[in-house]
């Protein structure tokens, strides 16, 4: 059994890197007091623009840059409504997701003519780099930023008692920008490294799973890493078991990540302390 787990671990880490990046980004945004359901849409748009960017320029770097740009556009949309117009964040996030879904589907079908959406596999060192960034570099950097700088202190204050600050909007926009950077990379990694390109609705709820892990990890980076790792291992385990012909029938296997996330949300009874002003306008 241990062998099976050890065998699944590296796969799990790599496969759940997009998820982890999304968790990290959403964590920053929620620490600043906002619930961004639209992270699902951000990942999806980033996955598409990443592919388009790479295919047009044949450069992985350009692909990632395009992905981040796409995520920024989605973040800007959410920000305008949630920050500038102080709109309800749940409704705004839902609308943003629908917009992303419709827009990416539309563009995908419109451009499907050529081979635009089939990309060559990403080189190993780039993959390793992104995994390293996501699992080690970014968590450390974000932890330092949030807990050792005045910027981070004020960002966290925006999520606790925003009335204490003068320029709450600045910190919330900054948080969204950070989320876009991370989710952009996550989306690009999903389409360029883990898949062979873009497919409609390919994020399949990763954004929502990320939201759940943020809660499970109690809005801390340590919790984010542990939560994502646990999730990734559990999911990868099932695939490994599947390969060995034990486990669930194929379609129920597809439902596993979501049931797993539901169980994760069950494990947070009572004592969870969210940032005090989370979700309030």
């Amino acid at each position: 059994m241990i062998n099976v787990i050890l065998h699944a671990l590296p796969i799990a880490i790599v496969a759940s890197t997009p998820l982890l990046l999304a968790v990290e980004g959403e964590l920053v945004v929620q620490r600043a007091g906002m619930i961004n359901l639209g992270i699902e849409g951000m990942l999806l748009v980033a996955a598409m623009t990443g592919v388009i960017g790479q295919q047009l320029t044949h450069s992985v770097a350009a692909g990632f840059a395009a992905a981040v740009l796409g995520a920024l556009v989605v973040a800007a949309l959410f920000g305008i409504f949630a920050i500038r117009y102080r709109a309800d964040q749940i409704v705004t996030g839902t609308a943003v997701n629908l917009l992303a879904l419709g827009a990416t589907g539309f563009v995908y079908q419109a451009l499907r003519g050529g081979e635009l959406f089939f990309v060559p596999p990403m080189t190993e060192w780039v993959q390793r780099l992104v995994v390293l960034l996501g699992w080690i570099v970014f968590p450390i950097a974000l932890a330092l930023l949030l807990w050792m700088t005045r910027f981070g202190l004020r960002l966290r204050a925006s999520g606790e008692n925003p009335e204490v600050l003068e320029r709450v909007a600045f910190y919330r926009w900054s948080a969204l920008a950070i989320e876009a950077l991370l989710a952009g990379m996550g989306g690009a990694f999903l389409s360029l490294a883990l898949s062979s390109g873009f497919a409609e609705n390919m994020t399949a709820g990763r954004g929502f799973i990320a939201l759940s892990i943020v809660i499970f990890g109690r809005w801390k980076l340590r919790g984010a890493i542990v939560g994502t790792a646990l999730f990734g291992i559990a999911a990868a385990l099932q695939y490994t078991l599947q390969a060995m012909n034990i486990g669930l029938p194929f379609h129920l296997l597809l439902a596993l990540p979501y049931v797993l996330t539901l169980l994760i949300l069950c494990g947070i009874a009572g004592r969870v302390r969210a940032p005090e002003s989370l979700g309030r306008n």
Binding site: I90, V91, A95, L98, L99, G102, F106, G205, A255, A269
Partner: protein
């Protein structure tokens, strides 16, 4: 009125998408109109599409009014349909009832998780959607697959709704549900308390209202309505289950509810608008090859405009 402005503005913005694929916006609008209301066939199609939208719209409206974020219409729709299929052998009425019960139960999973584990229903209902979609996939590829096992779909259901021409009795059921929902919200004391809970749960508690009970009730009714939508769609229109059965009806319900400002009677008109958009988009796909995703895009634009105008919920 701002609602009308939002709807029209969305259509205009949509038509501009035509430019992205090298076609004229006017032509896009023409095809949309033709496909939705340009012929008897089109109008019937629009009405048929409006029925599930009306019910999922009511589902969302009721839940949001109670202050509960039920985004799980999709999953409740699916489980409702599965239950209807299973119960169809006993007749149409048991099948309809089964669909409502299944939808209510599926929604109640999220309620239970919120009450016992503090899990936010906005996430749990969405996760249950994905779960239900794959549950459906398993059913139509496995235990419920048609006898010939050729396609991922079930056999025809053992019962069907009575029809009049191309329309089925579901139209009447949906309208009745709309009136019933209005009556519940605006003519009963429980409806008053439900609305109060949604507007200010703290004040509702101080006024002696059992907020948790309101939550449970609202989610159950909301789930039941979405489940009913699935049952009616099965027993009236498709007559069998297949992958992608839900086709976004659950999420579309959100746009329907918001355009109607969460008001049960206005949902009728709102559902017809989005029903028309949907059939029109289908025609666009068929004749002009423009992705029917444009309908989803349109829903999102409407919602965003409503948010901008500040008119996605009415003051009672």
């Amino acid at each position: 009125m701002r609602q009308l402005a939002a709807a029209l503005a969305a259509i205009v913005l949509l038509s501009l998408c035509a430019l992205a694929v090298g076609r004229s916006p006017i032509e896009l609008l023409r095809i949309l109109a033709n496909g939705s209301i340009g012929s008897r066939f089109a109008i019937e199609g629009t009405l048929l599409k409006s029925v599930p939208l009306l019910l999922t719209g009511l589902s969302v409206a009721l839940a949001f009014r109670a202050g509960v974020w039920n985004i799980g219409g999709e999953g409740q729709f699916i489980t409702g349909a599965i239950a209807a299929l299973a119960a169809a052998r006993f007749g149409v009425v048991p099948a309809i009832l089964a669909s409502m019960l299944a939808g209510a139960l599926w929604a109640s999973i999220a309620t239970a998780m919120r009450l016992w584990r503090n899990a936010p229903e906005v996430l749990t209902t969405i996760l249950l959607n994905f779960t239900a979609i794959h549950l459906l996939g398993w059913c139509v590829n496995g235990p419920l697959q048609e006898r010939g096992a050729q396609y991922p779909q079930t056999d025809l259901a053992g019962a069907a709704l009575p029809v009049a021409g191309e329309l089925h009795a579901g139209v009447l059921l949906a309208l009745a549900a709309s009136v019933a929902a209005w009556f519940l919200l605006y003519r009963t004391a429980e409806g008053l308390r439900l609305r109060a809970t949604g507007l200010n749960a703290r004040a509702a508690t101080w006024a002696g209202i059992n907020v948790n009970a309101q939550l449970v009730r609202a989610m159950a009714i909301s789930g039941g309505l979405a489940g009913l939508a699935g049952g009616i769609e099965l027993l009236g229109t498709t007559h069998r289950l297949f992958e992608r059965f839900a086709a976004g009806y659950g999420y579309s319900g959100i746009a329907v509810a918001l355009l109607a400002q969460l008001h049960p009677l206005a949902t009728i008109a709102s559902a017809m608008f989005f029903g028309a958009l949907s059939t029109g988009a289908g025609e666009l796909q068929r004749t002009a090859g423009i992705s029917s995703n444009i309908a989803v895009f349109g829903q999102a634009v409407v919602i965003l405009l409503l948010i901008l105008f500040g008119s996605w919920r009415s003051r009672d």
